[in-house]
Amino acid sequence: MQIYLPVAELSVDVFLLLGMGAGVGVLSGLFGVGGGFLMTPLLIFIGIPPPVAVASEANQLVATSVSGVLAHWRRGAVDFKMGLVLLSGGVLGSAGGVWLFKLLRGLGQIDLAISLCYVVFLGIVGSLMMAESLRALLRQRKGVARRGKLHRHIWIHGLPLKMRFQKSRLYISAVMPFLIGLLVGLLAAIMGVGGGFIMVPAMIYLLGMPTSMVAGTSLFQILFVVSTVTLLQSAANQTVDVILALLLLAGSVVGVQVGTRLGARLPSEQFRVLLAALVLAVCLKLLFDLVTTPDDLFSLQPGLL
């Protein structure tokens, strides 16, 4: 059954969109990731114009993150103070990102910018994840548990503007979380992702936040950043397709539940290797498309030069 997407201005099979939503939803539930980094490239692969894919996916992520935030909040696992510092950077970053997006679109370079961002970040995150999960698997086989230091003092702790974050039991400079928020906001606007895949490792390794606070706090930041991106993309570029977002959402709601239940039963370490492989596969596919000679060197774009 075909449906005409009013903003994307093309017809797509409803069941394809629902299926994509469900598929990415299962992975989200299984691994606790938002799935934007998989959904946006998938949307582009099926022919949705990249600007519409990015903006509509941000809209869908609003829905995906809100139930997560509420669940973590009920458990008291959200550090609001840290969240607000991250968010102040995030709002600024996403405003800059939407502006940059508009500029690059005018120059005809937005498709390239989106692809390059994906290749770089999926490449880095995929490789790190692969290395980390393979190491964990090896450790599991050997049965040796390694203990790290409780607190490492690195250059980050020498930055000014120190703040106390009671919930995370941290006394650190506010500059670092602000910068992390800024980067994530920028990427959210350009790539149509929540940015959890960058923020979560950054919060653990750069800020030293306790793992119990990381998921809830990053979701809190993501909720507000993707909302900002949705609003700004709609206002500046008119590229948010609500019908597309709602269809993806309907699929992912079901998928996430299936994924969460599956995740409780399956060995997570082995599956992390699979997720890493998937991330690297998407990265390689995008890289391949960038370096191989296209079928037609020419492309059309509505508007004036």
Binding site: M1, Q2, I3, Y4, P6, V7, E9, L10, S11, N59, Q60, V62, A63, T64, S65, V66, S67, G68, L70, A71, G108, Q109, L112, L116, S227, T230, L231, L232, Q233, S234, A235, A236, Q238, V240, V242, I243, A245, L246, L249, V253, V256, Q257, L290, V291, T293, P294, D296, L297, F298, S299, L300, Q301, P302, G303, L304, L305
Partner: protein, 248 residues
């Protein structure tokens, strides 16, 4: 039924040898609704000259085209190992959609050749550029037409105009699902030997209708409010999903 009746009426009205050149179309508007997968129209009419009564070069060409919109053609070049857009040409008035059909005498011949011979379609087969990389202009013009053909928006070869008897003709036009909204022109040319002997032009509109139209207008006319509504909808959907999940 209405169409059939119209064709029968036209046929009845046409005298045997010299008829009036009359053209009409089955619908004046194409409405894009939620389930839109394309639309079929029928253009029909009577030719003034009876088929077969004059030389071989006799027949009808139907051109449907519209809406003129500024289009940029960009060319990719390899830079640092990656293919990136580099340079482009703007065509301020390139039609978004062009469909061409011809009767038997022309239908099997190359489209560009026939149109050039009768001086039809210089504006869409070789649209005028505005500035840019003028040096390689032909290449950009050809690329515009080629990309449009690949997307199914320009005819690559003639559709068929069928004659039913000596004067009455008709042709089916398929508008694809990605047809752009706007005003279209239907032009019908009657040809004899090397000349265009009759021309008619009429208008056709493609527009979004129903929910699709409402959503599109809202997104473009009230972009900020639209963004807020999009957020609220997503918040409600997400909250609802979470609430249902907790219950089960």
């Amino acid at each position: 039924m209405r169409l059939l009746a119209a064709i029968v009426l036209l046929a009845a009205a046409a005298p045997a040898s010299a008829a009036q050149f009359v053209v009409d179309v089955s619908e004046r508007t194409v409405a894009i609704t939620a389930g839109f997968t394309g639309a079929e129209l029928v253009v029909f009419g009577t030719a003034a000259q009876a088929q077969g009564s004059v030389g071989e070069e006799h027949g009808v060409i139907v051109v449907i085209r519209g809406p003129e919109q500024p289009t940029v053609v960009r060319r990719k070049e390899r830079q640092y190992g990656v293919w990136a857009n580099h340079g482009g040409v703007t065509f301020p008035e390139a039609p978004a959609f062009v469909w061409v059909a011809a009767s038997e005498a022309f239908a099997d011949r190359p489209l560009a050749e026939v149109l050039a011979r009768y001086r039809i379609g210089q504006d869409f087969l070789a649209p005028t550029p505005a500035g840019g990389d003028i040096g390689a202009l032909d290449m950009f013009q050809a690329a515009l037409v080629r990309r449009k053909q690949v997307n199914g928006l320009y005819s690559a070869e003639f559709g068929r105009v069928e004659f039913l008897g000596e004067h009455l003709f008709r042709t089916r036009v398929m508008f694809p699902a990605n047809v752009p909204v706007g005003s279209y022109r239907i032009e019908v040319f009657e040809l004899r030997d090397a000349n265009v002997v009759n021309v008619t032009a009429s208008a056709l509109h493609v527009r979004k209708a129903g929910l699709e139209a409402a959503v599109f207008r809202f997104a473009h006319d009230f972009p900020i409010l639209h963004g807020l509504v999009a957020i609220v909808l997503a918040l409600m959907a997400g909250w609802l999903a979470g609430a249902v999940a907790r219950r089960t």
